[in-house]
């Protein structure tokens, strides 16, 4: 299988540049009478004096413009997307089909509960499935994303300690390999971040952890497997250290795709877990969102969960607001129902065997790719020698960079020419010239081999002093972008009205 790719290159103007005075692309029902009078009845001090300068284009112009833009965009539906920690697996179409029903799209969150029993049952069962998959007692479906789940989880930690009268705990411990959202969420929730280093196996240095914990420790935030794709095999010891110090254990579920059916965070000693439905449960990521980040907790944290929770009294489903110890609300309404519905559908499609198989194949694919890539000149697989990876692994291009000047960034840009979305580059921070790759279970061996060939080709080009890696990409809709220019005050342009301040 040869990888070839040519992305559309439309040089599409901005939609405002297509504007022609007087055009209207879409007509809503017009007002039945005296529309002018209605506008004139708006008190002058409240009335807009000029219409907003929005595009004036026809419907077909809008459709063509955005269809062309879609052709200048890359998604899982187009090709391999092994972006580490992002779990870009195939999103089954039936999930979207079901979510296109007016029975979900046109439901209002404040409808009488008697009219929404179907969606409430869906939410209730989705929470139940998720709780069982991660080994937690109770789930809130409300958080809108992984980071939002983290914030919610850390607020639950905070509520727990405060409820116990324990006000001194003002630190959260986070490994140096953690996702950036972990320290950001902890800091937002009012905590000081204490970083612990990784050992030569890429795992938490338990000695360092022992000296980091104490009466100020509110908790530890960690992924398992970690961002190197390595299972923290001392997780029970880690949990013991944190719990003995009176802290709680937070599980960042970004890497859950590695262990479904194999091990549950609840059995590892975790107290709080967030789950990224847009990763493990294949809800489409939409170019950045929406996602959903349900949070599960053990029984000792249940009382603090956000309101409302979805409950069942044996005959009907309902929303429970009467939770006196709840942290309150983390967003409006009851969660991203349309995303949760898709994840629920995904879970039913796969079932107990299917989810476990998904994790198995994801791990198989990652290890296969890691072993093949590490043998290619210029790449290496630092940390955890001889330890199997889980769903992802971190390759280092540091030899390649030292020996040829071709960096991880450039390898990534060159991979674009083959229609391969590059791995996450320069993360985690503990690996030089890092390329964090997560092929997922939905790539075939043929695709893996083709992708591996792509990496090999870049290595050959680099060592043969070809210009290709340094001048790539060539087959995308634009060539290498000047990102510095987008950030310089003089050239920065963040809206079409701004114009470039100087070119």
């Amino acid at each position: 299988m040869e990888l070839v790719y040519a992305q559309a290159r439309w040089d599409e103007p901005l939609i405002i540049e297509l504007s022609q005075r007087g055009k209207v692309g879409f007509h809503h029902p017009s007002s039945d009478q005296e529309s002018e009078n209605v506008l004139e009845a708006v008190p002058p001090r409240l009335r807009r004096s000029t219409l907003p300068s929005l595009p004036e284009v026809s419907e077909i112009e809008v459709v063509r413009h955005y269809t062309r833009l879609s052709q200048e965009n890359f998604g899982v539906d187009l090709g391999i997307y092994p972006l580490g920690s992002c779990t870009m697996k195939y999103n089954p179409k039936v999930c979207d089909l079901i979510a296109a029903s007016h029975k979900i799209q046109e439901l209002h969150p404040y409808q009488d509960l008697r009219t929404v029993q179907g969606i409430l049952q869906t939410l209730y069962e989705a929470a139940d499935f998720l709780a069982k998959i991660v080994g937690m007692q109770k789930i809130t479906l409300q958080p809108a994303a992984g980071a939002h789940g983290e914030y919610t989880g850390v607020m639950l930690m905070r509520a727990y300690h405060r409820d116990k009268g324990d006000l001194k705990r003002d630190e959260i411990i986070i490994p140096d390999s953690a996702h950036g959202t972990n320290p950001a969420s902890a800091a937002m929730a009012g905590y000081k971040v204490v970083e612990v280093p990784s050992n030569s196996q890429g795992c938490v240095d338990t000695e360092a952890l022992k000296s980091a914990v104490g009466p100020r420790t509110a908790g530890l935030m960690i992924t398992n497997p970690n961002t190197l794709g390595i299972f923290e095999c001392k997780i029970l010891e880690i949990a013991g250290i944190v719990h003995d110090a009176g802290g709680l254990l937070y599980y960042d579920g970004a890497n859950l795709n590695a262990i479904m059916g194999k091990a549950r965070p609840g059995d590892m000693g975790f107290d709080i877990v967030h789950i990224n439905l847009h990763k493990t449960f294949a809800t489409p990521h939409g170019g950045g969102g929406p996602g959903a980040g349900p949070v599960g907790v053990t029984s000792r944290l249940m009382d603090y969960l956000p309101v409302p929770t979805v409950e069942f009294d044996g005959t009907k489903y309902y929303l429970e607001y009467n939770r006196p110890k709840s942290i309150g609300k983390v967003r409006a309404f009851h969660g991203s129902a349309a995303v949760i519905l898709r994840a629920y559908t995904y879970i039913l499609l796969h079932g107990k065997e299917g989810l476990e198989t998904a994790s198995e194949v994801a791990v198989l694919n990652a290890n296969y790719m890691a072993q093949k890539l590490r043998k290619i000149k210029g790449y290496s697989l630092p940390f955890g020698e001889g330890v199997p990876r889980k769903h992802e692994f971190v390759l280092s291009a540091s030899n390649l960079a030292k020996e040829t000047g071709v960096t991880a960034l450039q390898v990534g840009k060159r991979l674009l020419d083959f229609g391969v979305h590059p791995p996450t580059v320069y993360f985690p921070l503990i690996v030089e010239e890092a390329m964090m790759a997560e092929p997922t279970e939905t790539v075939s061996k043929q695709e893996l081999d083709a992708m591996i060939n792509g990496f090999e080709k870049v290595s050959e080009e680099a060592y043969s002093k070809s210009d290709q890696p340094k001048t790539s990409p060539h087959s995308t809709s634009v060539t290498r972008i000047d990102e510095a220019k987008a950030n310089r005050p003089k050239t920065m342009q963040l809206t079409w009205k701004m114009g470039a301040r100087s070119s």
């Binding site: 833009l69 879609s70 009219t115 809108a144 937002m188 479904m260 194999k262 170019g287 969660g335």
Partner: protein
Amino acid sequence: MHQMLGEIGVSTIDDLFKDIPDTIRSKAGLAIPPKMSEMETRRHVEGLLSRNLSTRDILSFLGAGVWPHHVPAAVDAIISRGEFLTSYTPYQPEISQGMLQAMFEYQSMICELTGMDYANSSLYDWSTALGEAARMAARVTGRDEFIVPHYIHPERLSTLKVFCEPADIKIVEVAQDNQTGSLDLSGLKRKLSEKTAGVYLEYPSFLGFVEGSCEEIAQLAHKNGALFVVGSEPISLGVLKPPGELGTDIVVGEGQPLGSHMNYGGPLLGIFACKGDELLRQMPGRIIGRTTTQDGKQDAYCMALQTREQHIRREKATSNICTNEALLALAAAMYLSLLGPRGISGLCSTILERTKYAMEQLRKVRGVTAPRFDSFHFMEFTVNFDKTGKKVSEINDALLGAGIQGGLDASKYFSELGQTALYCFTEVHTHRDIDMLTDKLRQVLEA
């Protein structure tokens, strides 16, 4: 598979999980149902959903933060395209120009609509955008009090508290006149101090009335060194003076009406916009910039000002947000392009006309006061039933029996309003729908 295992140097898949300590290995498998075929799954899930009565099955007059609107077919068609739908955050801009350009267009249109300088490319929803705005105001001013109006959306207030508590920001409430809804300016003056980081107002308000003294409020806030934060439903800005012309520093809002379905309350689209470069540097969320290729030959788009964000700054970031609501922002960009200036103005006319008609008809029902507040309203207004001797909950029960979902019971949030419900009227409600509502109400109340 055997070949793959051979390359790895193991003999079974299980070998790849041997590093998980036996004590925590799941032995029994997942305690969830066995897999189903696509057909079975679809039948099952659609069976569940069929137990819902959607706002197409019943006539609903609920708004209150998520509003019923017609979504143009073109919007749903384009956002369903796999190239957009199945893409991730555009970390590799060269292969993600489509989404990046669409986000740039979204930001530009939000600025046009709100009259602000800069918009980010989305937050989760209005309530979390408000939480971020309060924290941003506190960061910028170095102060720790945030003033909110009495008639704020209760769920927004609850979310705001969860965002403010760990930052030690105190939420201070200012009264609104319970006849006109106007913010109590002398109360505001009393509560403004050198501690005030920001003053927040909803425009239009949660209860549909529109504050007429925004400029004065902005001036009072600014005179005290505080920021003025406005929360808006965006369709209303097709007819209302944009917050940017009222002295607003930060605008937040809910973008769902711009081409997204209600979806039982999520996903939603958090709007966030601000004025001036100082605030820009403190803004949460992703921002897309326009640039060129390195050879200068092509226009191009990429993420800008990333040093504010968590993946670079970690605990020093302006927010922890990573995943946002890009697909809904794309829908909003398409929606605003389809309507254009005349379309959105026309939509506002329709909404105002329906609202006016509904007030006139409801008022004719004996004992009904509509609106409860003496003010200009947009799209939503309060209906008071005190003189009917019936509770909103009883009335809504009876209406539901006739296939009508009445307005939100506001009396459970604001007891001083008596038996009051918040009703919403948009382009989806015809005169016949409104007549049906008033007929049924008359039957219910006169029974």
